[in-house]
Subunit: 381 residues, 2 copies
């Protein structure tokens, strides 16, 4: 276990609120990917880098948006009343349990901001979603990264992390995990939440367990909604950016105990979810058939992709989401070579996985193109 917060000397430059902010990589100003590929002379680009839905979004969304175009000068509904109603029906939760976010990133940020001070610690796993450590650093808090077990979360070690860090306030768990695709069983997650709950009670602590379910629609069996009825220290985080196909519009949400949600809503910017995102999310939740179609295609195509990896002799991590992490040798070089052929995947050197790339499961055409191009590339890289 390592603390990721350390102070850098930076005497001549402008000083941030907390030294840990200097550890966050500044976002690079650069051209968008479509501009880059245009410059490379590529006209037929396949983007399998961001786990976006290759089938787009529900056709009901366009109609919902078109009907709202006359009202853009008005502020969004700050309560997201109708959207919360729809989420409430879908998840069998009360309105008071729901917190809306400008994508689920905004929710992860809001959790850290609401409950983590600069004196506190946050627990997350090696190879887990990079935003967990970013929001920790933004708060000037101490990040405790727990080594992974077979590329997934080691819940026993994470529990030790909670026990050994008296100032730990939040545990982030991605399930399925991004970028590895691993899934925790219900029983394991429940046991973890229960042990943290017992610790909270015996030691008068307040450790919140955040289950990031961004990919839940691709593995509905991993839905841990039931835990909310048992434990008031569990927060589930969901997004419309993945299976629902609304990444461009920015909407996500948390469901939790009313007390946790009430506190988060004090800090939430009331207009964080824009008007078109609200109506699009409502329309999306009313089209289960679209999600079923997406999940079925994803399962078939993920199976096909893994079979091709076997054929190519490439290791991969079995995935419960809409992406697969593949061991390709020099991940950065393979990424670059694929890019030059118009296939965009995600290199994982930033996750400490330099030999791997993450590929989003696309349409059959996308995936065939990926495997054909990868086969060529691996002969030369």
């Amino acid at each position: 276990m390592q603390s990721s917060t350390h102070i850098q000397a930076n005497p001549n430059a402008i000083q941030p609120a907390y030294p840990s902010i200097l550890d966050i990589q500044a976002y690079q100003i650069g051209k968008p990917i479509d501009e880059l590929t245009r410059e490379l002379g590529l006209t037929d680009v396949v983007k399998l880098a961001s786990n976006e839905n290759p089938l787009g979004c529900s056709p009901k969304v366009t109609l919902a948006i078109t009907q709202e175009l006359g009202g853009l000068a008005r502020y969004p509904d700050g309560n997201g009343y109708y959207l919360k109603q729809t989420i409430s029906d879908k998840t069998q939760t009360d309105l008071e349990q729901i917190t809306l976010g400008n994508g689920s990133n905004d929710i992860l940020d809001l959790i850290a901001r609401t409950f983590v001070s600069s004196d506190d610690a946050v627990i997350y796993s090696q190879y887990a979603f990079v935003v967990y450590q970013m929001v920790t650093k933004m708060q000037g808090a101490t990040g405790v990264e727990v080594p992974a077990k077979r590329y997934g979360h080691d819940l026993e070690a994470m529990l030790d992390g909670v026990k050994n860090n008296a100032n730990a306030k939040v545990v982030f768990i991605a399930n399925p995990n991004n970028p590895t695709g691993t899934l925790l069983t219900h029983d394991d997650v429940r046991a973890f939440a229960s042990q943290v709950d017992a610790l909270n009670k015996s030691e008068h602590r307040q450790v919140l367990v955040v289950l990031d379910e961004a990919y839940i629609e691709y593995s509905p069996e991993s839905n841990n909604r039931a835990l909310l009825d048992e434990f008031d220290n569990v927060i589930l985080v969901r997004t419309f950016s993945k299976a629902y196909g609304l990444a461009g519009l920015r909407v996500g949400y948390a469901i939790s105990s009313p007390a946790v949600s009430e506190m988060m809503n004090r800090l939430r910017q009331p207009f964080n979810v824009n008007t078109l995102a609200q109506v699009a999310a409502i329309a999306s939740l009313q089209d289960d058939a679209f999600i079923d179609t997406c999940r079925t295609m994803n399962e078939q195509q993920r199976r096909w992709l893994c079979k091709q990896c076997d054929v190519l002799g490439l290791a991969f991590v079995p995935s419960s989401a809409n992406f697969v992490m593949i061991e390709v040798g020099d991940g950065q070089a393979v990424y670059q070579a694929l890019l030059e052929q118009g296939v965009i995947v995600r290199p994982l050197v930033g996750y400490g996985l330099p030999n791997w790339v993450r590929v989003t499961v696309g349409t059959p055409e996308d995936n065939t193109r990926l495997i054909d191009t990868l086969t060529d590339v691996l002969e030369t890289v």
Copy 2:
């Protein structure tokens, strides 16, 4: 001068990161205004409560949005490359000086988050935009509210606030101010920025002066863009929610020194501005004629509204924005009575101005309806 941070005892409830978060009013879960007015049986409602543009947005926006509807499953451009190009051209700044926000509220929040720790202080004026004290409390920092002078900013007293609070890191100045509408002269703002700059240099401090120019399009003479060329501690904040008529889409920005922008972009969520907001903002910036029309109507109608206040014997504060603050007696009662007649204005009791309401300048029809209804209401309240 008063410190607004104090600790509340709350031993049995869930604890936030900082006690000052308990001072922030929890956002009330409630029905949207259109649901309320429907329940009151009102079909013809005039909303003059949020300083939205009564003429909507540029007609170029609809086309720009329609062309993007096929790409909603893709994440927004995290750099906002094309939008920044357009802002850069419009404001004569470099791309490195621009920070994009999910509305300008997001920018105000980001400024506090980037530069203000829980040990620091923030200076703002009495009767200034309420978000300044909210973001201060979110950081667990100390808010220093400086008494207003004739409902506007008292820059001399604010400079004393900076001098007397060694931990002051940010000064928020709204120009024109919301909700009072007052405007500071160029010379006064420049003198203030210069004095703070001198203080920074002589005392090795880092006090940032934030000029919130949300209403700049309604009083272009108050544009303080030139200060950025002189002082690297000045941040200008702009929004597309007011004159540009895009409140529903959420987009705003800051322009500053590159060093300040670089630090803020470390904490900015890369997808904070959605795809449709980006293309809509670009289209808006390319339609100067629309802004001219809006400004001209606003000036004529604001003059008309003020004349009607004189006729009714009501005091008002001369305004440089698209709203007027009017002294009506019991502001809350007048708000309620107007609401029941289908005219929605903003009561200001939360700003410590219980005798005043703020009314947005609407179309000629809106304003006639407001004055007629207000005339009736004042006879009974």
